[in-house]
Each structure stands twice: as structure tokens, then as C-alpha cells.
């Protein structure tokens, strides 16, 4: 079962990139201000919290203080653009597991999240939740079509999500230099989604047999009597 990570960050661009980094291995919940961060942070479902320092409504110090008071064992990673030594000391005193100055390496963040969530759960704490059997649903489409339909929807959803993110970045009054790399990353994420999609869909079509793709039909075929 995936661990839950709460992401408290007001910058939608950073939230989107981190969601992409984490989503394969973790369930990610999000809050875009300190109030929401505290509200969601008090829930006992979080296995780890990633927290920005500068947040609207309440800052990161207030959030970590409230969260740690309720759940002292939940690891908290702090992200910050600028941090004076006093604040850093405060974060450490309040129990921050790791402080990442921005900009940071996403791979390094993922490694730390993996390590902290692993060490936070000892085997004795892991409890098996009985899973109810899934109801049987009679498929309405052929298996190939069902698979392709599901793949199509999830790809469209993933692309729509990234487009929404790109809009949030590009429609800002100012596009910061740091946004450029985020936009590039988003474009690469989209390329990756699309490549996986058509690679798989071509596979599925071919493996389904009776392959008669328009890509073959519409190709100029060799005519033995013609002038190719």
C-alpha cells in the first residue's frame, strides 16, 4: 500500500513537479496555505509532510509546531528559498527531519522521502487492512478496447493536469527565470505520457491481430506495374 505524503506548498508549479516526482510511489495530498496545512496535517493518515516555510495565512514554523504537537513521529521535510540561522534552528528544534534550500534536486528529495517513510514505519506498526473483494463488472467492450479506453482516459487526464499546471505558470504576470526549467520539465512529463501511450496502443493493436492500421492502408503501396 502506498504511503501518504502531505505537500504544503503555495507555489502551484512546485506542487505539480513534486506531485510528479512522488506520485508513482506515494499518495500525495496537498495544501496551498498554512491553515489548510495545519488542518490536513492534524489528520493521522499522513506518513510524511513536505512543508514550505513561506506560506499564506500561517507560515511553516506555525504549521510544524501544530503538526508535531499532535503527531511527533511524523517526519517533516522543510523547503525554503531563504532561511536565516534562527529560523533554521527553530525548525530543527521543532523536529524538522530535513531542510531543503530551494532550488533543490528532486531526485534527492525523493530519496529522503523514501528513507524517512521507510524508517518511520517499523514492521510491528504495519497492519493489514482487509480488502473487500471487487464487485464483478461485466465488460461492455472487448478486452483490448477496454484497456485502450482506460489508457486513453488516464493519459488525457494526466495531460490535462499538466496543461492546467502550465497555464498556472505561463499566465502569471511575470514568468520567473526559475519557471523555465519547470516548464521544460512539465513538457518532458507530457512527452513521456504521450510516448508511453502511443507505444502501448500500437502494441495492443498489433497484438490484437487482424492488424489493418490506417498507417499501413494509407501508405503508398508498391505497385508492381507503377513508377514508384
Amino acid at each position: 500500500m502506498k504511503k501518504n505524503v502531505l505537500l504544503v506548498e503555495d507555489d502551484p508549479a512546485l506542487r505539480m513537479v513534486m506531485r510528479e516526482v512522488l506520485k508513482d510511489e506515494f499518495d500525495v495530498d496537498e495544501a496551498d496555505n498554512g491553515d489548510d496545512g495545519i488542518h490536513k496535517g492534524l489528520s493521522d493518515t499522513n506518513d510524511l509532510i513536505i512543508l514550505d516555510y513561506h506560506l499564506p495565512k500561517k507560515d511553516g514554523l506555525q504549521v510544524i509546531e501544530a503538526v508535531k504537537a499532535a503527531h511527533p513521529n511524523v517526519p517533516v521535510i522543510v523547503l525554503t528559498g531563504f532561511l536565516n540561522p534562527d529560523s533554521e534552528a527553530q525548525f530543527n528544534q521543532l523536529g524538522a527531519s530535513k531542510i531543503f534550500p530551494k532550488p533543490f534536486n528532486y531526485r534527492a528529495l525523493l530519496e529522503v522521502v523514501r528513507n524517512l517513510t521507510l524508517s518511520a514505519s517499523s514492521p510491528s506498526e504495519v497492519t493489514e487492512v482487509p480488502v473487500a473483494p471487487k464487485p464483478f463488472v461485466q465488460p461492455q467492450l472487448a478486452p483490448t478496447e477496454t484497456e485502450m479506453f482506460a489508457d486513453s482516459l488516464s493519459t488525457v487526464a494526466a495531460l490535462a493536469e499538466k496543461l492546467e499546471f502550465l497555464q498556472s505558470v505561463t499566465e502569471k504576470y511575470w514568468i520567473e527565470p526559475s519557471d523555465i526549467s519547470t516548464i521544460r520539465e512539465a513538457a518532458r512529463c507530457m512527452e513521456n505520457e504521450i510516448q508511453s501511450f502511443y507505444g502501448k496502443i500500437n502494441n495492443t493493436l498489433f497484438d490484437a491481430g487482424g492488424f489493418n492500421s490506417p498507417l499501413i492502408r494509407n501508405t503508398k503501396k508498391p505497385h508492381l506495374s507503377g513508377n514508384n
Binding site: 510516448q195 489493418n212 490506417p214 498507417l215 503501396k221 508498391p222 508492381l224
Partner: protein
């Protein structure tokens, strides 16, 4: 892109032609092609691969090798652990194009190839050229082309499904 095909032709120019001429009619037996100088094919801005038979691809140029790797955002980029895959699908239509090129010993333009890679299958659009021995016997085939844009591949799959649904579904 409306003029995509014209652009493709513009990108398969003299450099490709002369690179192929260096190989065509230069060797006696297929094995010698394995030692051929392919330096003029390497930098071409199109995917070039050469094969003796559909299950015997023996050369893939630099642009073609880019297809082997799955596009990934930098934070997910990792070393490829599995060996790369690049093979041609065994399809009668695609085989027919090869037979034409080999038997007629003439290039075939605006044709397509379906390539299987580790991340799935993709279509290439381009041309096939025969490579002949000194005596004029067919030795191998060279394909040169570009990956069909993903948007077009997806549109054509959708079109395929629309067509087959109209024939068999409850409309």
C-alpha cells in the same frame, strides 16, 4: 502539419543519397557490409537503419538510437538497465515493401515501418533503398525516415477504431 511530407523529403537530401551510394555496389557479400564505413550515415538528421532480413537489423544510426530511450523528465532519468530493443514487425504489408525493393532494386518512397522498442511500438515514415553487391545482387535494405508524429499516430488509431466500430457495432 500540412506540408509534413514535403518537409520529410527536404530532410532526406543529397547527404543521404551519397551515403547510400557509398555502400551500394561496393561489396561482394553481405558479411562485408558489417565492416562498411557508416560515418556518413551517422550524423544524418533522420533515422537510418539497415537490415539483411526483417529479423536481422545490423545497423542503426545516431538519430535512430535516440528512439531506443524512453523520453523522461530529468528527475526520473536513470540509466537503462534492460538491453535496448529495436526490431521490425513481421507484417505481410511491410514485408511486401521489402520484397519490392529487393526484387526491383529500386527505392520505395513514402513508405512506413513499424518498429518495436522497449517502450512500445512506433511508426516511421520514410524511404527504403536497396543495397546491392558489385554484381548487382540484393544484399540488404536501408530505411531512412522519421518517426511519425505522436499526434498523427494517435489520430490514426482513433480513425481505425471509428472505421471498425462502424462496421461491426450497434450504431
Amino acid at each position: 502539419m500540412q506540408n509534413y511530407d514535403k518537409l520529410l523529403q527536404a530532410n532526406l537530401p543529397d547527404a543521404l543519397q551519397s551515403a547510400i551510394e557509398n555502400l551500394d555496389g561496393a561489396f561482394d557479400i553481405p558479411k562485408q557490409l558489417l565492416q562498411a564505413d557508416v560515418s556518413s550515415l551517422e550524423p544524418l538528421n533522420c533515422c537510418v537503419f539497415a537490415y539483411f532480413a526483417r529479423d536481422d537489423v545490423f545497423y542503426l544510426n545516431q538519430k535512430g538510437r535516440e528512439l531506443l530511450r524512453q523520453k523522461q523528465p530529468s528527475f526520473e532519468r536513470k540509466a537503462q538497465s534492460a538491453p535496448p530493443i529495436f526490431w521490425l514487425e513481421d507484417d505481410p504489408n511491410l514485408q511486401a515493401a521489402d520484397n519490392y525493393v529487393a526484387s526491383r532494386q529500386r527505392p520505395l518512397f513514402e513508405t512506413r515501418e513499424l518498429i518495436t522498442l522497449s517502450w512500445g511500438k512506433t511508426w516511421l515514415h520514410g524511404s527504403k533503398f536497396p543495397i546491392r553487391s558489385i554484381l548487382g545482387h540484393p544484399l540488404a535494405i536501408i530505411f531512412a525516415g522519421h518517426e511519425v508524429p505522436p499526434s498523427q499516430q494517435i489520430k490514426l488509431v482513433a480513425e481505425h477504431y471509428q472505421t471498425t466500430q462502424q462496421g461491426t457495432g450497434d450504431n
